[in-house]
Each structure stands twice: as C-alpha cells, then as structure tokens.
Symmetry: C2
Subunit: 285 residues, 2 copies
C-alpha cells in the first residue's frame, strides 16, 4: 500500500498528539476519522474540522472503512484494544502508533496480530506541556524528529508507508532505529531528563524563589510539568534501560560533587570542558 | 550620591557583562569609561561607541575621575584589584560589582575599603553562552532580575543608588537579599542547575544522538556550555552551600530512582504531581 490521498486514516485516541495528527492529515486532504471515549472530544474535533468522521464507540462498521489505523493511546490501553477489536480492521490495513517506548509494545502487538494486517511502530518526538484535542497543533511536528522502529516482521512497503506518513505530518527528520536502540536513546535523552526535572522541582518549596529565577532553572524544570499517569507507565515500560541511564547520571553527578568537595580544580574544569565541547553538537543549525 | 546623568561611571573588566553594562549606560547618556587588560577590547569598545574613555592600565589619573565604579571581574581578581588600587578611587565614590556569589566577596571587600568609599554588592542574573565585549548586548537585562545584597555597613543612599543603577540598566525586577540568602538561592537555582547540565552532558559520547534529540535534552544541557574558569571559581567560593544543594538533589533523584526500581507507582505519581504543581509558579506571566 502506498500513501495516496484516497487512503482513509483512523486515529484511535484523540488527545494532543492524536489530535495534532488528525489536524495535519486533514489539512493535507486526507479523510481522517477518530475514535475517542469522550463525546465532547469528537464533537469538538468535528466542529473544528480536525476530523471528517468520529465515534465514541468501537464498532466494526466504522473501523472497517479505514486503510491506515494510528493508535495514540497509553501503551496498556493500546494492547487491550488490539486484543478486543483487531478483528474489525480491514484486511490489508497498516497500523502504526505514537508510543514513546518501543521494545515492550512493538513485539507484543506484532505477535498478536492477524496475518492480514501489519503493524509498524513509530515515535513522533514532539509534544507540549498541555493535553487534549483542544490544544492540537500540527506545527509541533515541524521542528521535530519522527522515528520508525521496524522489526524482522515488517515489509519494506509498510516501512516506506510509515516514513511517508512522517513526511506528510511535516516532521523535519525521519529516522529508523531498532526498538532496542530506540529505547536506550529515549531512556537517556527523554526519560532521564524528565526524571532530573521532576527531582529538581521536588527539592524544595520554591514559590518564594520565583522572583530570582533566571533561565537556567526555568529551562531545567520546564518538563517537570508532567502527566503522571502517562510518564509513570512509560518509565515502567522502559524500566531496565531507564535505571541504567539514571545510574550513569548519578555516577557523573557524584564525580562532580566529590571533585568540588575535594577542591579538585583540574577535575572540575575537565568535566566542564568536556560538557562544553559535547554541547556544541547540539546547537541548532 | 544620587544617580544623575552627570555621574561618571567606570567599568572594570570589559567582558560580556561589563560590556553590556557599558553599552546600556552609554546609551542612557552617561559618560562611561572602562579598564580592560587587552588593547583590542578597549579599541573595539571605543570604536563601537560602547564607552567614551578606556585604558589598559590602572592609573590614578584615569580612575580618580569616576563617581561610580563597577567591577565585572572574577572574584579573586576583584579582591586583588581592591588591595592594589583602591587608593586611586575618589572620595565619596560608590563601588558595586556583578559577582555571582556574595558572602565571600561582599564582607571581604567592605572590610578592606578605605572609609571614604562604599561598596554595595549586586548580582545581575543575566548572561549568554558567549563571551567578550564583542557579544555585549544590553537587551540581556530586559527580562532579568537584579539583586542588591546590602549588609549592615551600607548606607540607604548607596543601596538606593545601586537599585537605581539596576533600573537604568533595564532590569525587569530589582530585589534585595542578604548575602547569605543570595548564596543559598544561587546555589540552588543557578549553580546546582549548571552541575546537573554538566553531569548530564558528560554521561556519554552523544554525537550520534543529535538527530534524535528533542527539546528536553537541549533545554537541560544548554548551560553545559560553560566557562570552566569562571564557574569553577564560583562553585568553590560557594562550596558549602552548593554541596548542600547537590546533596538535596541527589536524595530526591534517588527517591525517584528507587521508586522506579521497586515499581512503587503511587510514589512515582506523587513526585510527578508535586513537580507539576510547583512548576506552575515558574510559568512566565
């Protein structure tokens, strides 16, 4: 299957990311449908023209019209959905997702699927600190990365379709990683940083410090505003990898702490020179 | 002394902050002079109209013409300067600084000064990840805080002058803290955040991760691009306070780590709810 404008796309779960997918794809001219539990969500999305069809129930008649199904659900809910409703999906359809962890989701879903449909994992590395379809904004993808995580079970056709979907959504970069590589990378770059932000923000009652706060503290705690249900689930799904990244960080932080305690100036400077040098890779071009 | 436009202002040390002070005050109509070691620095600042007079040498004839002297030097160099050259400063002059730690600087300088001049500490909480007068930019003050740190030795007149200087420089907020309160606050909000950023950036060779990096990692490591000479000195000058803030952070980070290891979902969610609630104080209005 190729991604042509006549393909009908179903978004299951119409939150911030699902809603932004729907908005981007509708604006590109696709017929986009959505399933969401809350009536107001579907009503809002229809009124705003974000979707062309919607349902609060999962029914065969509705689901079976779609060629591409994208799951924007919590991982646990996603896997339950597959168990209960995959029989409604039409033969030949391609499934994808937006889940932030891959190893524990991709293989499980692929092993459960009927032979006539294919699942190809993807992770749109985009977001905002707000939730819900009311905040949907297709522009969050413009400066962001889209990672496709194929396995041995995937066909080249589905991988290409998934990449094309990332392009249609407007992502700046489309890359491919194995689920395992993805989870190590995400454990370090995303989950560890959220752990740091949460811990820093939890250190002390800090309302009285607002007036003195410069950009450093604001930047480091921006992501301490966090959806605790989603992130707890994501952390647990990537537990082993995240623990190893947290331990790596602790060991580096303790090196710096101890060099300060021992007034080991050379060591302190060496750590700062290294961080300065490495940070240059991450300057935006 | 009141801050009127006929007051001549000397900046000692013409780097990013000193240069930005000079630019802001010259643009406001003050006669601004500067002392800097490098000939090119003075030449550049004169050519660009950032200063009206400059010298690479510290000479009585030059120094004694100024009513206000602002030190934008490393703390150690600043204290040496006072020892060597304070006799050149005219009677009745008011001295201030831009040093990022206060307890170890303010009392020492005040105890060394001749009776006819007064030092009032200040900390402009502004900066950029670039250095030198070539990057001077008075706009860095517009959204920033300016903290005045008086002691028992200060007169109301000098405190008011110092606050007025902050206003003239364009700072958004002017506040007053004791040197001790300042150092605890700065240990937590600024120094600890730099320690975290440096440690995170030092965790692993990460060039291959650039393509996958979202905003979280970029935000948390922005300040890992750090002047190792200045920050090592600042850390050591605030060693006791910074160590205690680092230990506080480690204890919170370990709480989160252990709750993940033990799959203590309630505890993880509780930490995230607290961080989300507290982070709201820091949303910019």
């Amino acid at each position: 299957m190729k991604l042509t404008k006549d393909k009908k796309i179903l978004i299951v779960g119409l939150g911030l990311i699902g809603g932004s997918y729907a908005q981007a794809l509708t604006d590109k001219g696709y017929f986009v449908g959505a399933i969401s539990r809350r009536d107001e969500t579907i009503k809002y999305a229809l009124e705003k023209g974000i979707i062309s069809a919607g349902s609060t129930k999962v029914e065969k008649e509705f689901v079976s019209q779609f060629d591409i199904v994208i799951f924007a659900l919590y991982p646990g809910v996603f896997i339950d959905w597959i168990d209960k409703y995959q029989s409604y999906i039409k033969d030949g359809a391609v499934l994808s997702d937006v889940t932030g962890v891959k190893g524990c989701v991709v293989y499980k879903v692929q092993s459960k699927l009927k032979d006539t449909i294919e699942f190809i994992g993807a992770h749109p590395m985009a977001g905002k600190e707000v939730y819900g379809v009311e905040n949907a904004d297709k522009n969050i993808f413009l400066d962001a990365n889209y990672i496709v995580t194929p396995t041995d079970k995937n066909t080249k056709e589905a991988i290409d379709l998934c990449k094309d979907l990332g392009k249609e959504l407007g992502f700046k970069t489309i890359c491919t990683l194995s689920p395992e590589e993805h989870d190590e990378m995400i454990g370090f770059l995303s989950q560890l940083t959220h752990c740091i932000a949460v811990s820093l923000m939890d250190c002390k009652e800090s309302k009285h410090l607002v007036d003195y706060t410069g950009n450093s503290f604001r930047d480091l705690t921006r992501i301490a505003n966090i959806n605790e249900t989603m992130w707890t689930e994501l952390f647990l799904l990537n537990k082993k990898e995240l623990l190893s990244q947290m331990d790596l960080f602790i060991s580096k932080f303790m090196e710096l702490r101890d060099s300060l305690e021992n007034e080991d100036i050379d060591k302190m400077k060496e750590m700062m020179r290294l961080s300065t040098e490495r940070r240059k890779y991450f300057d935006k071009k």
